[in-house]
Amino acid sequence: MTANRSPGRMIGVDVGGTFTDVFVLDEGPGTAHVAKVPTSRPDQAGGFLDGIARQVEDLSTVSVVVHGTTAGTNALLERKGAKVGVITTAGLRDVLEMRRRDRPRTWGLRGDFVPVVPRNLRLEVPERTLADGTIRTPVDLDAVRAAARTLLAEGCSAVVVLFANAYANPQNEAAAVAAVREIWPNPHVSSSAEILPEIREYERFSTTALNAYLQPEVAGYLDRLETALTSGGFSGEFMVVQSNGGVMSVETACRLPVRTALSGPAAGVIAAAYIAQSAGYPDVITGDMGGTSFDVSLISGGQSLLSPQTSIDFGLVVRSPMIEITTIGAGGGSIAWVDKGGLLNIGPQSAGSDPGPVAYGMGNDRPTVTDANVVLGRIDPENPIGGKLDRLDTEAAARAIDAHVGAPLGLGTIAAAEAILRVANSRMAGAIRLVSIERGFDPKRFAFMPFGGGGALHSGAMLADVGIGRAIVPRYPGVTSAMGCVIADMRQDFVQTLNSLVDGLDLGALTGFMQSHVDQGLALLDAARTRFEARDIVFELDMAYVGQTHTVAVPLPVEVAGGRVAPPDRAAIAAAFDATYRATYGRLLATGTRRVMNLRSAVIGRRPKFDLATLAPTASGPAEAARKGTRRVHFAEGWQETAIYDRLALPVGARIDGPAILEQPDTTVLIEPGLTGTVDRFGNTIITRQEG
């Protein structure tokens, strides 16, 4: 274990498309502060440092800075990465461009794909390994060197070596990489088995190539941040959130930038899981409503679900465990329109945050979900969130709704605005139901946790449309991702394809892979300068019956004492598979032959959690003291004079019956008629149906 540091300040920074959020936890007194500043462009480092400076004068008092970043994702989407060269097996240079024979959209047959490495920079060399690891053709190292020199002459700044079946035997690939490293002028040389020793050539090659593509951009960005922090007196640990919801060191992030693909959203889900668990609701569905999208994630028993891969954009596949997040195009900026058949639709086109809703007055004239909320009085036009605008233009929003929705449907302004919200709510509710069903859960037994700037305006609709019992609005829903940065554990994931029948499994080799994963993972924890309360090691085997291509993840209970892995037992592996398979499919196959496809290991350093009660309201006295006045707000029942409260001034235990609106700088919480909001001991607002 590393030496314990004296408690200091921990800072989480999440850089989103519109805002940079900062969450500062003062471990000593147990207090927290938040800041929200506009995201700076093109270099996000400016906003990052500005946000921290709002809350912390002396960086030497800071022990940990954890960053949720979209720098890697943006570089991929904008195709702003390095010039990468590929050296690959003869006959296979087009794997990256051929994908898995898919298409961008089901209907229409339009759209093509431009790979991040063009074909003329993908060079083939004689070599071949077979699926069982046999080397059929040894690698021609002269050809490898010649290819590397050609790529250098073409101006490539990074090179990846991508050989067939390298997951089964990396010998040819390793020899080629060693030869390239001798002549390549920088450290940006990697091979597919180093990055992802897992079967499936396209997914492995794509992950490796995208990783190389991102290295200079992400490393440069993190280096600028670290230099600025250090020159400000910071001497603590600087870490980055991964897509799997765990943090990693900056060194690891520079080596494996592809693991930051969903960094910020993952941190939000981690915080949501912790808040919900603390509040007594381990089963929760989160809904993050931003400008262009509504992101849904499911947490069961306090654990967020991981998916094995994602596509950042069509054909840009990153395979590494990541928090499962489903996105639909229904955000505050999503545009409402009526199709030629006379049906009202929301999205997928969005005004985003720039130009944004019509009410922003920045040039968009088509009505959005936010415009409907403004027209119905649910958002205060005099105090827009985020502080970028002085006021919102309600009249312009109403005109746009009239022109694009009201007139074609024969509805007045208010009815048209209600229609927009009902359709948007219905789509969000649908996403929640579908995410649950796809994973085999009944959504009714989950709580709903809205976060992001707009989600808490819509929680009542989720209760009504999905049949969910309660919504939990966190105390600071606008900075959830930044808070998640402070909470997240350090985690490293490893994979190794085994592709063996259980009966023929080489247990010595399996133990060797497990030990190697544990050694690498623990070394990374040891190198970290942050403190851990515990270290956990989790092993899973991807298994199936022979003939099935879809595997189930089988937890493998294995003892690790003093860093040494106890060899697993063949019968225990078979029994673990049977238990998982039965739980998933309800039955076993009497004549099926069990196969192990992959070993997956996770090495986790549990970081100390802060007590969420430190965020609890300090106010006491009657809830009425927090009442700011009233505003006319439109609900299904018509206009109602609605009480407005300063949310952060409400005391623990306060009960507010709807209709009511709770306002805070980054969020508006809507409590609809028939619902009640209660402030729990952490300052969360729990929204339930009124009794009786």
Binding site: G91, R105, L109, F113, L344, R433
Partner: protein, 565 residues
């Protein structure tokens, strides 16, 4: 049903809610199906259908494109069958695979369940999924030599697998005795029954919340609006009559080309698709049943107008004329196992005709064949193996840009298995898995590239079977764009490389260790005249090896050489 009187807000909300019921049924089956054709390739579909006509009311978004439109025929077949025995009963579930009644092919098992509300029939729920094996002469049921349906699979007409809520285990026993993979079939059957159960629960909730009259009105209004949307799209196109023809190489039995012809006529807000002149029913399995032809027309139209919803209203302004006795309306027991090839060609001719009316709305032909290739043999220990897969090709160019390299077929959304998974499972090695230079149709926006797959046998002996098309007639361009390359299949013997006498179909090719087969698949057709392609784009194609220098100059003229880098 009438759609008058429902308010537009409720309607917009219900549109999403009802589509979601079908989506949730899809998700239930994808999650629980045993066989990867359903679980991974999503070769399945679910929806809600009209109580009297069987018309599609709502269908899920995630199922296979070709099922959108074909399912209503399955429901109609059940409605007719149930009428013989006094009409549908609450708790009955019908099951069948007869492709001449329900469309597509015999591998697709259809389950249809009447949904009752307050003692009265409200609508039907249906589930279709591709089972791994349904008997017949060939495992997996892709028999290129079949001359009738009985050689393709066992044929099940609509029967009740549940009566008034009681499962009929004798029917289940018959099903399980007629498949080579009963465990897989049982898993899929349970998954489909589960999807229907979920559909019933969701319909109950929806009707509890909104009442039957509102839902009925919404369903009617949605069909009316889909019709209005289709009419609005058709009205935006010029009036006129345009013709197109193309050919299937042969039926796999006799080496004679089979024409598929269409006349597309637009007048105001109506469309006629007349397939007069198409070849008559043939001996081999490239026939299709009438329901398949109707569903294919819908697929083609939805590719041209992607925003159209999936309900029967879309088809009201469209008249289909499918000649009796043609291979597009083959009657039982004509073999239909190769229906994919025929419907791809139907889509191609519809595109070619529609492009004359509205070139900017239509993409050029895609590669046009699924190339079903199987290689089978025995391992050293005597264990049999069969590697079966479909292979990809290029998509057509469009008004927006070049076609996609190596895409999937327009009738499917299935992806190809990774090469490493195939090599790990079967004794083969891919010498090549590559883009095929020169395979794209030339054009202002060229087609996407097809692929080259060369597969070497690593065991002592094996046999190869191919069911493909486009070996004699290349994918066409539109709006003046050029043709793509032909599909070329080659196989290695001791005396060198050979091609099948029937171009893209062959069975029983004997391979020995070290010998290979090679598929060179077509690209997509080009869009617009090649002469209008930017010289820089041609120069880039040459630099990337998508096109040889000589071909570049032949197709596009010498202008590109002035801007080569």
């Amino acid at each position: 049903m009438t759609g008058a009187g429902i308010d537009p807000i409720t309607l917009a909300v219900l549109a999403g809610r009802m589509e979601q019921i079908a989506d949730e049924m899809d998700a239930t089956l994808f999650r629980s199906a045993f066989n990867p054709i359903i679980a991974e390739a999503h070769d399945a579909s679910h929806g809600l259908y009209h109580a009297e006509t069987g018309d599609t009311l709502v269908q899920g978004k995630s199922g296979l494109p070709i099922f959108v439109g074909v399912m209503s025929f399955a429901v109609k077949a059940v409605i007719d069958k149930a009428a013989e025995t006094g009409g549908p009963v609450d708790g009955d579930i019908w099951i069948f695979n007869d492709a001449h009644m329900g469309g597509t092919h015999l591998s697709d098992m259809r389950l249809v369940r009447p949904y009752f509300r307050d003692g009265a029939l409200f609508c039907y729920l249906a589930s279709v999924g591709h089972w791994h094996d349904v008997g017949g002469a060939v495992p997996g049921n892709y028999n290129p030599a079949a001359t009738d349906a009985f050689q393709e699979a066992f044929v099940l007409p609509p029967v009740r697998i549940a009566r008034a809520g009681e499962m009929q285990t004798d029917i289940v026993d018959i099903l399980m005795r007629n498949t080579r993979l009963p465990q897989s079939a049982m898993g899929d059957l349970n998954g489909q029954l589960g999807a229907l159960d979920l559909g019933v629960r969701r319909m109950d909730e929806l009707l509890d919340a909104y009442g039957g009259e509102t839902i009925r009105a919404a369903l009617a209004a949605l069909s009316d609006r889909a019709e209005a949307l289709m009419r609005a799209e058709l009205s935006s196109l010029p009036d006129g009559r345009w013709q197109a023809e193309d050919f299937l190489d042969n039926d796999g039995i006799t080496d004679v080309a089979l024409p598929i012809r269409v006349a597309l006529e637009i007048s105001g807000d109506r469309l006629v698709l007349d397939f007069e002149g198409t070849a008559p029913r043939c001996a081999g399995p490239v026939n299709i049943a009438l329901p398949t032809a109707v569903a294919t027309a819908y697929v083609a139209i939805k590719h041209i107008f992607p925003a159209l919803p999936a309900n029967a209203g879309v088809m009201r302004p469209i008249e289909l004329r499918i000649p009796e006795g043609s291979l597009l309306s083959a009657e039982f027991p004509a073999p239909v196992g190769g229906y994919t090839e025929t419907i791809l060609r139907m889509i191609d001719v519809i595109f070619s005709a529609a492009a004359q009316a509205a070139p900017e709305r239509v993409v050029a032909n895609a590669y046009g064949t699924i190339n079903a290739l199987s290689i089978a043999g025995k391992r050293g220990n005597g264990a049999p193996w069969v590697m079966f897969s479909f292979y990809g090709g290029g998509h057509g160019g469009s008004s927006e840009g070049d076609g996609l390299n190596h895409g999937n077929a327009p009738i499917s959304t299935a992806t190809i298995p990774p090469m490493e998974i195939l090599e790990a499972a079967y004794p083969v090695m891919f010498r090549q898995w590559a883009l095929r230079g020169g395979s794209a149709g030339a054009g202002t926006h060229r087609g996407g590239l097809g692929a080259v797959y060369e597969i070497e046998l690593l065991e002592e002996n094996a046999e190869a079977f191919l069911f493909g098309e486009r070996g004699r007639f290349a994918p066409r361009g539109v709006a003046g764009g050029g043709e793509a390359a032909l599909n070329v299949f080659s196989y290695e013997q001791e005396d060198g490389w050979h091609h099948p006498p029937m171009a893209s179909k062959m069975r029983g090719i004997a391979l020995r260790r070290g010998q290979a087969v090679r598929l060179e698949t077509p690209g997509g057709g080009g869009y617009g005249p090649a002469s209008a392609r930017a010289p820089e784009a041609v120069a880039r194609d040459v630099a990337m090896g998508y096109l040889g220098e000589e071909d570049a100059t032949r197709l596009y003229g010498p202008g590109w050489t002035a801007v080569r880098s």
